[in-house]
């Protein structure tokens, strides 16, 4: 029952306007045909299931339909921020390196 900020609309709206769209930045293998069954299975099924700060995708399904990323704490439901996919990726990569 939280509110999310859509970086595309520039508006903070109730969760009901959005749809959860899974863990962020799981890239589709560039050459699926060359992926082994295990690699393809990883891409399809394996998720982090993080307890703590987590990068996830949300889609503004009852608004602009854009997909964006949210950094949310899965236990406290605190939200650190929302970014467009491109902006968020820079933050995400910086954190992953750290």
């Amino acid at each position: 029952m939280f509110q999310l900020h859509c970086p595309h609309c520039g508006a903070t709206r109730e969760e009901e306007e959005f749809s959860y769209a899974g863990e962020a930045y799981i890239a589709r293998p560039a050459n699926p045909e060359e992926a082994s069954d295990a690699e393809w299975g990883d891409y399809l099924f394996m998720r982090k299931n993080t307890r703590g700060w987590f990068w996830e995708q949300w889609q503004h399904t009852a608004g602009c339909r854009k997909v964006f990323v949210v950094k949310r704490h899965t236990a406290s439901y605190q939200i650190a921020g929302s970014w467009t996919l491109a902006e968020g990726k820079a933050h995400y990569l910086k954190e992953s390196e750290a």
């Binding site: 029952m1 939280f2 509110q3 749809s19 769209a21 890239a27 589709r28 050459n31 699926p32 045909e33 992926a35 069954d37 393809w40 299975g41 399809l44 995708q57 889609q59 399904t61 339909r65 854009k66 997909v67 236990a75 406290s76 439901y77 939200i79 996919l85």
Partner: protein, 1006 residues
């Protein structure tokens, strides 16, 4: 009759306004301002229920939401409300209430009389019954227990009243209208913040309503309260909601609060234009929790007898409602505060004996006050057990060891008609803990409390932090609120209000009053009254090795009731801690979850019910369908014609007629509800190649193609026909129910993986009306309406589409078929939908054109073996499982969604369930959809299931039943006989092709 009315200057009832009401059919009288509980007590009612497990007689214990026993059924018929706490029901003229517990009657109780069930119902009763050796006997008990265990009865008639929701966005929400909450709201209001204060009671004041002697800033506390209320009223930026309980706190300070708008009014005087209750959804920048504290009783033998109450209840009934709870009162305490109750009762004329478990008793001034009022003090004693069964008659005292919680010697036996006890206060920490917060044990307050500093976005004020003295509670409130205001960049206007400073003696650390016997050997000492959990039960749970308090709770049912353990939890945790040999801080609390108090379903639903529960969507042809007598079914949110019965036709007869008319001449169906998405852009074609399993590179403008959409697991998720409008423009259709899902799916893949593709999606479902003209005469019908499209078989082929005019209306005509017949789908601007439908009906009249609905559509498509995604598939079917490998373009250069998964070890298994047709041996048998398929007729359970029936109909065209099914290795089992368990019988059936009609496709190409 031991309780009686007295006049108190502090009383909030209006003795000039008597109100008549009935309880269990008996006429009684109370006064405006009474609760049902105060009026019942004044009328001498002591026995109000029977306990859940043992059938023990029970009376009113508390005075508010903490009440565990006094659950009543209010009113009858459509207005009835079950399990209200009598302590929270405001009395109104004509109120009628009945008891809810006690089978067959309150005064003759089977459980109570025989005590039969007690033996069978130790802690963990249900667990042991289902798991243990008694299992076989369960059916014998079940019926009796179910009858005996029930509380109130849910209404069976439609609710005649309505409910609504109101959303608030405020700077500050203050929860609790006691002295501390009022002061926090005052400071926030003076600072100019948009402030909302909610309070559970019919009037603000909190404990000040009960404590007649409290003073703030040198004047009576209620005078100060009224000044605050008047000031808040005068401030335009402050709203005060009474009778409004904040029952849940969620993420980002969303608080839900239930306002009882009209429950306090006689049913006949309620305004039908106003809601009965209103659910407030409050999003607050900052929440101030000033929810106060609730007094808990001590735990002692037979402490559940009617006439036993908390000291706070005794004081409240006296000072607020003008009801003295007894003429001969025993009051046991381990703290100073309860002396006030004893003093007030004695002043009002009751004979009061104060049993202080402490050898030295309270601070001198309190002892003096009590003695002056006529209270008899007994220091260093405790109550070992209460006497009396359906009403208190007295108590056996013991002398307590002053240092350890043990018995030092015998005490006197005293007579009494009312017994009160005070085991200290328990902070109302619930809301703080609903959203991940945890309380901590504050030893000097003997309570789990919330931190003084609150947490991000939440301030805690007053007794909720474990401050029991008014002066220190107000000081802490002032400091916490000032800190909050500083956070808003505002200053504090006003000095901290001063409560009287009192000297207070130390509290005795006591929860379970010892009776000199080992736990379980003396009289039952109850911790949780609603669930009949005794101190011995908690010890037993620990002996049976339940270590976590969460497990002890579930095993004993401690705190499970509608009171949510408001009286019982801390006592229960303390007793468990002792049994476990751990400090109570290490035992902790169970998890606090919403709702703080019960909330009606009506309030939660608000206006989201009946017609406004979910929107209904109608096509432009709705009036035509109604005129022709259609019956409807809901598909997604759409109301689709189901079938069009004529005269007294059954559905079966109507569908047979519609099917035959369509196959033999011409039928017409409203296909407007299919999802439609306009896909446009230079890369539209490439995008389709990636999102569909088929190839789209060679589809020219003017052509259509059936497409299968797979998820990344290779499973079919949607299907539909897509038309190429121009090289960079496609008209995609989806299943009726899948339109929104598919649009989001397209957006997600485009935005996350292929943002470089230049393509846009627009939902056009509502823009087009689609009339499907189906059957051998469909060309003839269309020819009458359309002169600018060459409809000849050579020039307008199957899977072509043409632009032109139909009946003068611009139209896109698709020659596609979901029935296997020659068919055209006329798409026009939705504004013309109704007109075109009627034009088609008129033009088809000479051919006996027959409108049909979804049922006939299903039969026609099943006769052709066309799947319905979601009926013949369930998210675990690949195109190969459906024998639709022809719709998979394995040679496409880009690895389309789901392609790689089609070669995983699991998807290439040959024994996967695959789509087949079934012919039952008896052509009249229509199998049940969902029926399981077996290999042999004489299988006994557990037998391996071979698959199940997905679609099954009677085909009038074939004169027999047909079925589609998914069957393990089905593609290799043509000609096999399988056995289908349906309607209580085994039906032999032959595996056949799932295309039952026109396998060569001659008809649709006509």
């Amino acid at each position: 009759m031991s309780a009686y009315r007295v006049h108190r200057n502090s009383q909030r009832i209006d003795s000039q306004s008597p109100l008549k009401f009935t309880f269990d059919g008996k006429q009684m009288q109370g006064f405006a301002g009474d609760t049902l509980a105060s009026a019942l007590i004044a009328n001498g009612v002591k026995l109000i229920g029977r306990s859940f497990k043992y059938g023990r007689p029970r009376g009113i214990i508390g005075h508010g939401s903490e009440e565990p026993n006094a659950l009543i059924q209010l009113e009858t018929g459509a207005y009835t409300v079950p399990d209200l706490k009598a302590t929270q029901v405001e009395l109104y003229h004509g109120l009628s209430a009945t008891t809810t517990t006690g089978f067959p009657s309150l005064h003759f109780d089977l459980k109570g009389m025989a005590g039969t069930f007690a033996r069978f119902m130790p802690p963990g009763f249900y667990y042991k019954t289902f798991m243990g050796p008694v299992k076989a006997a369960w059916p014998l008990y079940e019926k009796m227990i179910r009858m005996a265990a029930g509380y109130g009865r849910a209404p069976v008639e439609a609710d005649p009243e309505y409910y609504d929701h109101l959303h608030h966005h405020v700077d500050v929400l203050v929860v609790g209208g006691g002295a501390c909450g009022l002061w926090a709201a005052t400071l926030a209001g003076r600072a100019g913040l948009k402030t909302l204060l909610v309070d559970e009671q019919n009037e603000a004041g909190g404990w000040m309503l009960s404590d007649a002697s409290a003073r703030i800033d040198g004047k009576p506390a209620m005078q100060w309260v009224n000044e605050r209320l008047a000031e808040l009223d005068s401030l335009g930026n402050v709203t005060v909601l009474r009778r409004t309980t904040a029952f849940a706190l969620h993420e980002q300070n969303l608080v839900q609060a239930l306002e009882l708008c009209q429950d306090h009014l006689p049913i006949g005087s309620r305004n039908p234009g106003q809601p009965r209750q209103r659910l407030h959804k409050i999003r607050a920048h900052h929440v101030v929790l000033a929810a106060g504290a609730i007094e808990r009783p001590l735990v002692y033998g037979n402490n559940d007898r009617p006439g036993v109450m908390t000291a706070a209840a005794g004081q409240t009934y006296l000072n607020r409602y003008g009801v003295a709870v007894g003429r001969n009162v025993l009051l046991m305490t381990h703290n100073d505060a309860a002396y006030d109750a004893a003093r007030d009762l004695a002043e009002a004329g009751s004979r009061v004996t104060l049993i202080d478990t402490r050898l030295r008793g309270a601070a001198d001034w309190r002892q003096q006050q009590a003695k002056q009022a006529g209270v008899e003090l007994m220091l260093g004693y405790g109550i070992a057990q209460v006497h009396g069964k359906t009403a208190v008659s007295g108590a056996q005292l013991v002398q307590l060891d002053p240092f350890t919680n043990t018995v030092r010697g015998k005490g006197p036996r005293l007579s009494a008609d009312s017994i009160l006890s005070s085991g200290g206060l328990t902070s109302t920490v619930h809301l703080f803990c609903h959203n991940t917060g945890r309380p901590y044990w504050k030893e000097e307050s003997l309570s789990f409390v919330v931190p003084d500093e609150g947490r991000q976005g939440i301030s805690c004020a007053g007794a909720i932090t474990g401050r029991w003295e008014l002066s220190s509670a107000l000081a802490q409130t002032h400091a916490a609120t000032s800190a909050m205001l500083a956070g808003f960049g505002r200053s504090t206007h006003g000095d901290c209000p001063q409560g009287d400073e009192h000297e207070v003696a130390a509290t005795r650390r006591l929860f379970r009053v010892p009776d000199g016997l080992a736990e379980g050997h003396g009289a039952k000492a109850f911790v949780d009254f609603q669930n009949d959990v005794s101190a011995a039960d908690i010890h037993l749970a620990v002996r049976e090795n339940y270590r976590s308090i969460e497990h002890v709770k579930r095993y004993t049912a401690l705190g499970f009731g509608t009171d949510q353990g408001k009286l019982s939890n801390v006592n229960g945790f303390a007793i468990a801690a002792e049994a476990l040999g751990k400090p109570i801080s290490a035992v902790g609390t169970t998890t606090y979850r919403p709702a703080y108090t019960p909330v009606t379903f009506g309030a939660l639903a608000g206006s989201h019910k009946a017609d406004t529960f979910e929107p209904r969507r109608y096509t432009a042809m709705q009036a035509s369908h109604l005129k022709r007598g259609a019956l409807f079914e809901t598909v997604g949110q759409w109301m689709r014609p189901w079938y069009f019965p004529q005269g007294k036709e059954t559905m079966h007869q109507a569908v047979d007629r519609e099917c035959l008319a369509t196959r033999n001449s011409v039928g017409v169906m409203d296909a407007s509800t299919l999802g439609k998405i306009d896909v446009k852009g230079p890369d539209a074609r490439e995008f389709l190649n990636r999102i569909y399993s088929n190839a789209w590179s060679k589809l020219d403008p003017g052509k259509c193609r059936y497409g299968l959409m797979l998820d990344e697991n290779g499973m079919v998720m949607d299907d539909g026909v897509t038309a190429c409008i121009a090289d960079d423009h496609f008209h995609m259709t989806t299943t009726t129910g899948g339109a929104a899902r598919v649009l989001n799916w397209l957006e997600r893949w485009h935005q996350t993986e292929w943002p470089e593709l230049q393509v846009r999606f627009t939902s056009t479902t509502d823009h087009w009306s689609t009339t499907a003209v189906v059957g051998p005469k469909s060309r003839a019908v269309l020819q009458k309406l359309c002169s600018d499209i060459d409809l000849s078989a050579e020039n307008f082929k199957f899977m072509d589409w043409r632009e032109g005019t139909v009946a003068g209306v611009p139209a896109k005509v698709f020659r596609i078929s979901f029935s296997g017949e020659l068919a055209y789908e006329i798409n026009v601007d939705a504004c013309y939908g109704h007109y075109i439908w009627e034009q088609v009906m008129a033009a088809g009249d000479e051919f006996g054109i027959t409108p049909y609905g979804t049922e006939t559509m299903h039969v026609l498509r099943a006769e052709k073996g066309f799947i319905i995604v979601g009926q013949d598939t369930d998210g675990s079917m690949t195109p190969m499982d459906l024998a639709m490998g022809w719709a998979v373009g394995m040679k496409k250069p880009f690895s389309f969604l789901g392609k790689r998964s089609l070669s995983r070890s699991d998807t290439v298994r040959s024994d996967r369930k695959q789509l087949v047709g079934l012919y039952t041996e008896d052509p009249k048998v229509v199998l049940t959809e969902g029926a399981q398929i077996l290999s042999t007729p004489d299988a006994t359970p557990p037998a391996a299931m071979q698959g199940h029936v997905t679609s099954s109909y009677h085909s009038a065209f074939l004169g027999r039943s047909i079925a589609m099914a998914v069957l393990k290795g089905g593609s290799q089992r043509s000609g096999d006989t399988v056995y289908v368990w349906a309607q209580g019988k085994m039906h032999p059936a032959k595996v056949v092709s799932s295309v039952f009609v026109d396998q060569e496709g001659v008809r649709q190409h006509a």
